[in-house]
């Protein structure tokens, strides 16, 4: 395995798990699947549709997201937005993330 592949694999491991927080952060305003995917990719959060769409459904089942079908336009779409429970989880996860960033900053500074 080349070092590029190794780095790509490890970077993917690092990013795994951040998608949930990114979704929760973006869904104060209701959005449908494809639009959210675009927003995430524009914000440099790399995620594939086949990961994101089942994930949204799972978060909805866990009660972190609410959903509603919008039939105003010609194509009916399912819109997701964060639920009150999701807001509480987002606050906790954000704190975790900031702790992690601080810890990593300390650790990586010590290594020359």
């Amino acid at each position: 395995m080349s070092s590029e592949e190794l780095i790509a694999g490890q970077a993917q491991e690092l990013r795994r798990g951040t998608v949930v927080l990114a979704c929760l952060a973006l869904l104060d305003e209701p959005q449908y699947g494809y639009a959210l995917l675009e927003t995430l990719n524009t914000a440099d959060i790399a995620v594939d549709g086949n990961t994101l769409y089942p994930l949204l459904r799972r978060l909805e089942k866990q009660g972190l997201l609410d959903s509603e079908w919008n039939t105003d336009e010609s194509r009916p779409r399912k819109f997701y937005r964060i639920s009150p429970a999701g807001t509480r989880v987002r606050a906790e996860l954000t704190r975790e993330w900031q702790d992690l960033v601080a810890s990593m900053a300390r650790l990586t500074k010590e290594t020359p």
Binding site: Y32, G33, Y34, Y53, R58, R75
Partner: protein, 310 residues
């Protein structure tokens, strides 16, 4: 609605693999999402764009598993260690015992080395395949129907580490018990079917054939078979446990009590056999007492070994 487009074929392949109550909604969402993605591509060749989008969505089995939150492995990491441990025990302990017993029965019945070797190879392949297949099927079912988020039923603890040496002081005893019970079963079955005694020009079986039509013989055989299974489990566990010792006592009773009873009632031998051979009256009482004493000694001995941790 159900046109034969690429999207429709793909959506159907995904949703038929997820729970029925979610199918319609996931299907609608997938259709909208695929269409949105296709719209966002350059509109020159819509069919090529649809093809690319579905290619990126990937294997329907994988996507459906992701929607249904289902494992993509036959046996996942939670059950894999237990599966491997059981498989190893079955193939390294139970399989050789079954093969040895089968070969022994074949030798007794046919008295032919070639036939015995053939039977041995056949039994090894068949029984190994059966063990592998059934164990895998059972674990695959457990993997799929375990309660979500539940822990493994059989958590590992440091107590399970095998000792470095002297792991099983009584292994030889257990194996010889196993062979002995297997031999008794084989002997009883063989004398019934092969009718080995030739007296006055007739082939006879020694034990009273009437016992086969009542519960007596079946209880004796069931007791012996249970004792074999318990000895195998004891070999795998490397020592007696309380439940194993109790189970062995029950099995010993299943075997010994009916045997003592038929001996005491003088129903043990085939009447045709007795017409030709004289059996002294004392034989019945002494043998019945002997079986009882050996049974009690065996039971006591198991609890003695249990208390010593062997």
């Amino acid at each position: 609605m159900t046109t034969n487009t690429l999207t429709e074929r793909y959506v159907r392949e995904v949703v038929r693999r997820i729970p029925a109550d979610q199918r319609d909604e996931v299907a609608d969402e997938l259709r909208a999402t695929i269409a949105d993605t296709v719209d966002a591509r350059d509109g020159a060749d819509r069919e090529a764009a649809e093809h690319d989008v579905i290619l990126e969505m990937g294997d329907p089995i994988r996507l459906a598993a992701s929607y249904a939150d289902r494992p993509l492995a036959l046996i996942g990491p939670v059950f894999y260690p237990t599966y491997i441990r059981l498989l190893r025990m079955l193939l390294s302990i139970v399989l050789p015992i079954v093969v040895v017993v089968t070969v022994a029965v074949d030798i007794i019945e046919n008295n032919d080395v070639g036939s015995a070797i053939g039977t041995g190879i056949g039994a090894t392949v068949t029984v190994a395949a059966q063990m592998f297949g059934w164990l895998t099927a059972v674990f695959a079912c457990i993997e799929r129907w375990q309660p979500k988020g539940g822990n493994a039923q059989d958590p590992w603890t440091p107590d399970r580490l095998p000792d470095v040496k002297g792991t099983d002081k009584q292994a030889k005893g257990a194996v010889s018990s196993l062979v002995w019970y297997g031999f008794l079963i084989a002997l009883i079955v063989w004398q019934h079917f092969a009718q080995p005694v030739i007296l006055g020009g007739n082939r006879l079986e020694v034990i009273n054939p009437a016992l086969w039509s009542t519960w007596v013989m079946w209880t004796i055989l069931a007791g012996l078979a249970a004792l074999m299974v318990i000895e195998m489990i004891r070999l795998a566990a490397r020592r007696w446990t309380l439940s194993l010792a109790i189970a062995a006592s029950v099995a010993e009773g299943l075997f010994a009590v009916p045997l003592i009873w038929v001996l005491y009632e003088r129903e043990f031998f085939n009447p045709e056999f007795l017409a030709q051979v004289t059996v002294f009256d004392e034989f019945y009482l002494i043998t019945a007492i002997g079986v009882a004493v050996i049974g009690v000694v065996e039971v006591v001995n198991r609890f003695r070994l249990l208390s010593r941790g062997e």
